[in-house]
Assembly symmetry: D2
Homo-oligomer: 342 residues x 4
Amino acid sequence: MLQCFASDYTQGAHPSILRALEKTNLESTSGYGTDVYCAAARDKIRAACGCPAADVWFISGGTQANLAVLGALLKTYEGVIAADTGHVSGHEAGAIELTGHKVLTLPHKNGKLTAAAAEAYIKAFYADENREHMVCPGAVYISQPTEYGTLYSLAELEALAAVCRAYRLPLYADGARLAYALGSEQNDVSLQDLARLCDVFYIGGTKCGALLGEAVVIPQPSLLPRFFTQMKQRGAVLAKGRVLGLQFDALFTDGLYYRLGENAVRMAAALADGLKAKGYAEHCPRETNQVFLLLTDAQYEALRGRVAMSFWEKPDAAHTAVRLAASWATTEEDVRNALEAF
Amino acid sequence: MLQCFASDYTQGAHPSILRALEKTNLESTSGYGTDVYCAAARDKIRAACGCPAADVWFISGGTQANLAVLGALLKTYEGVIAADTGHVSGHEAGAIELTGHKVLTLPHKNGKLTAAAAEAYIKAFYADENREHMVCPGAVYISQPTEYGTLYSLAELEALAAVCRAYRLPLYADGARLAYALGSEQNDVSLQDLARLCDVFYIGGTKCGALLGEAVVIPQPSLLPRFFTQMKQRGAVLAKGRVLGLQFDALFTDGLYYRLGENAVRMAAALADGLKAKGYAEHCPRETNQVFLLLTDAQYEALRGRVAMSFWEKPDAAHTAVRLAASWATTEEDVRNALEAF
Amino acid sequence: MLQCFASDYTQGAHPSILRALEKTNLESTSGYGTDVYCAAARDKIRAACGCPAADVWFISGGTQANLAVLGALLKTYEGVIAADTGHVSGHEAGAIELTGHKVLTLPHKNGKLTAAAAEAYIKAFYADENREHMVCPGAVYISQPTEYGTLYSLAELEALAAVCRAYRLPLYADGARLAYALGSEQNDVSLQDLARLCDVFYIGGTKCGALLGEAVVIPQPSLLPRFFTQMKQRGAVLAKGRVLGLQFDALFTDGLYYRLGENAVRMAAALADGLKAKGYAEHCPRETNQVFLLLTDAQYEALRGRVAMSFWEKPDAAHTAVRLAASWATTEEDVRNALEAF
Amino acid sequence: MLQCFASDYTQGAHPSILRALEKTNLESTSGYGTDVYCAAARDKIRAACGCPAADVWFISGGTQANLAVLGALLKTYEGVIAADTGHVSGHEAGAIELTGHKVLTLPHKNGKLTAAAAEAYIKAFYADENREHMVCPGAVYISQPTEYGTLYSLAELEALAAVCRAYRLPLYADGARLAYALGSEQNDVSLQDLARLCDVFYIGGTKCGALLGEAVVIPQPSLLPRFFTQMKQRGAVLAKGRVLGLQFDALFTDGLYYRLGENAVRMAAALADGLKAKGYAEHCPRETNQVFLLLTDAQYEALRGRVAMSFWEKPDAAHTAVRLAASWATTEEDVRNALEAF
């Protein structure tokens, strides 16, 4: 069975990452992210973000990054606004609630939280005379790209950031698949834009060519004092921190991160085009590395033994929506094999 | 400056681990620890523990393992008994308290919690007529070896386990440096003994030759239902779970884990002997891979620029205790270099 | 301005409660709910519920009862199913999330959670192959009467309880206004029914004639071991526990609790009838002690200076829904005064 | 058996409190502490504290006040420094840990935390190079009087406050028995001093003549923004908030609070003197309303059937220390009866 489109984390890491691990293997360095490779990676990320003073922290996974950041951003009595389809809303097993905070969900639009919906919610909260008995919105969560593989345009992001600033709410962007946003032909939001418009965001490694690791960027480091201790408390600090630093150092050398993103998007486009040509219907338009198909249940049953896909949802009794994800490692041959299997 | 004795996590991983990562790099596998390499590692660990039914989970670091396990073992109104020198007591930034649980500390004896002290505490709790206003002991935490590099003997462990069973308290052993216990010439506690006497324990990878990773073993898997979801909630699940499985698969192939432990212990013994021959005083007796020295402050100031050591404590105004740790990677040349620097 | 319909907690306590406090004032009793008055109240409540073995605990307020009970019922990885209009969902400032648990909201029907909606949700959860990454439903929360003053019929409650039992989920009923359910002419659910069908419920005092206090009933006491310690941890135990016991002793003497409920319902009916006769529109049908009116915004502006009402919601741009609550203390004269003010 | 010395919460409330409840019983007021009686009580407390701008909040019990205040004062990564004998350390069932915070215990001196011990601890923390892996001290907890009935002198309190200010740690005083400090002939710390030197403190009602209730005073209200919502989240807000306001209004009318304290202290002194005259040994010197006796075990066995006392501790195998507490309600006759029973 063709496995590689099941998700963008089915394979290992870009070879340059393995080379870096091997090359430095027997060097002795200090622990907990204080080594030279973490320092180098931080500098490259700061440069890429146009943010020389930013704090950059490496965390091993996305849920952990989300709970560490939101746990640090929110006061005990605050919740986080998110689209109802946001990763923190439904797919992290209640990690945010376990830190004590409600996820205040608003209806999504193509997977996105709109500035208008956020503003209406916040305004209604402040107009409600019972608001002291309610959860106070304390931050706004988005992801770029979204769970549906869609992108916030620069205009949309500017609008959302303007709402956040008007109400002094920090804006946090989950970039688990950020390479695939940056690599999209439809994208107009740069890393510098994210650093300018978000209060915290993370640059995803696990799904974008690393073995593991996410880089949390805090453009104004005074925002989250003692963040290291908070990471430690959540179990989010690796003793051999350089394992993460080395990977981001490699990803941010010679534009590798962008190239990996572009490859995945190109392969996803080829796959989507090929499937369209074969008569398959899109479940929603492809913008990044994920292709959502609308299959009849019969098609689904026939195909699922041949191609590993993610079940997405059942929009009606007779159809099944599925997701295929290209990745940094997907090859033209993988696409050809998939098209043959369909 | 000589760096490699600063801790047992200054270097990368055993070469066979890097080879395994490289060899499997472009294979597509399923995520979250459901892959064939995790399965193989689980089977090898079960065999090594003599526990064919055990649950085995891979977690990226020790603090995370401790908080995930204790968070799952303890009910909301329970605390965990530990030696006052236990890692969970003072060096995890309050991770256990952040999960809502008090660490009930008892005075240590050579870094160890004694069966007698534990039993006296538990008895006193149940005899106290105000116990319903107090934190109920819900588990016992130890580490093998301890923070002082000392070992529980089999007799000591049997005695502690007997107390735990008498009061129906699960016994949890933190094995961050377990290879160095297993590799000690003074050790009489096998993996099978741990599996027989503990309710949960973890086999440390990060400090014992892996890039990262700890293997949590639950001999009776019914003890912790839905542990995967609880790990997920704590951010303790890696999407590319195989990164951990591959490492433990390598460590438990052909007895590598034991050999790595033995090497560290042998190098530590050589270092300790050499230092004794040079007239240095031990701060406490070496049992595993860690050498604790008692230096005059003048010696400490002179040495600390030449050899990286961990400051341990100041036993009095004129002396400083330091720790030197040998590791899986320490060579005889490293020992010679250290002895020359002293 | 007429104040007494603003809520059902605007006035003090039934005179028999004040008399009991006065009569026993200088007696010395033991603390923390271990006194004879708490014991007497427990026995009367057990008798009223037909549940001689039930555990009964007194807690000072409703939010505290909800968080103490749900905090004790739910495992760390579980959430509670509730109607989106449930008190725990929106009006407790995130108290449940602060205990670490997600409120899993389902669309309400007249303020109620239907058995069909609950079952569909639970079934979908267990059918989802990603369920280990999601919040596991661990209990079901309802209130009798609901936030809209509506009542679960016995048939509805039986159906919901059947779903809960089929999936081994405890059913918890918040009875903040339970007297007004029991006193409703439309009610067919007795205290004995609640004790038979719910795993935990509480009998509200604060809003039903006491100064403060709620009585948590656990028909099978083995369900929540060490509940006292859990209450203590949440700050939910009063040193002078008899203050609560004395009140419930009075409320459950000679059927007072029922009579107070009946009075409120009769007065609410008279108010609703009078308002209907004056041409006012109901926002939803009255079933218990609360009258929901649909006013034009102009009416609302004119009335709100004369009669204290709770703003409820704005169903459209031109109308405002308000709530008037009769209580145990409402008199016919209060109703006449209100009707004159309208 | 003589019950009234078992604790200072064995009896009801001062009659003026019951009169106030009765007099206002049928008035309709707004809820949640927004009523006129709470407002009046706040003003009287502000005046007594010499703090016209202070925030004053009413909470039903001491553990709840402690967890609400410390939960609001501490950041997630902070703990609270307390004497090892402090109420939050051992007698609140882990309430502080359940809010996520470690209690950092230091050895007491006569039940007190000394400025020197606190400063040494804080200095050592900031000097420790591993401090980012440790719990950061975030507040200091004391009680006045202490668990041993001892008093901080003004000089001691000034010294402790100076340490707190030097390190920007808020100082919080638990005044569960504050009336008995204020009423002691040995006391030189006024309410105004507490308001000047502490960042938050509470004035105890439950143990000092009220049915229930503690008044939390925040001299600089900007210290704890949205404290109401945080109270609500913890279940610490009563719907009929006036029940608490009315009591503090009564206690702070015509100096009642002070008189109640003085009565208890006078009765405790008479009891202590009488027992001394009868040859009984003090376990520690009486400073406020609590008398600690050192009994032989034989004496204890003989007496415990005649006089209700609190078991305190067993200082050695042959002796038992017990506590007798006088209260606002203790009469000369009670003292005579006790002395006869001894």
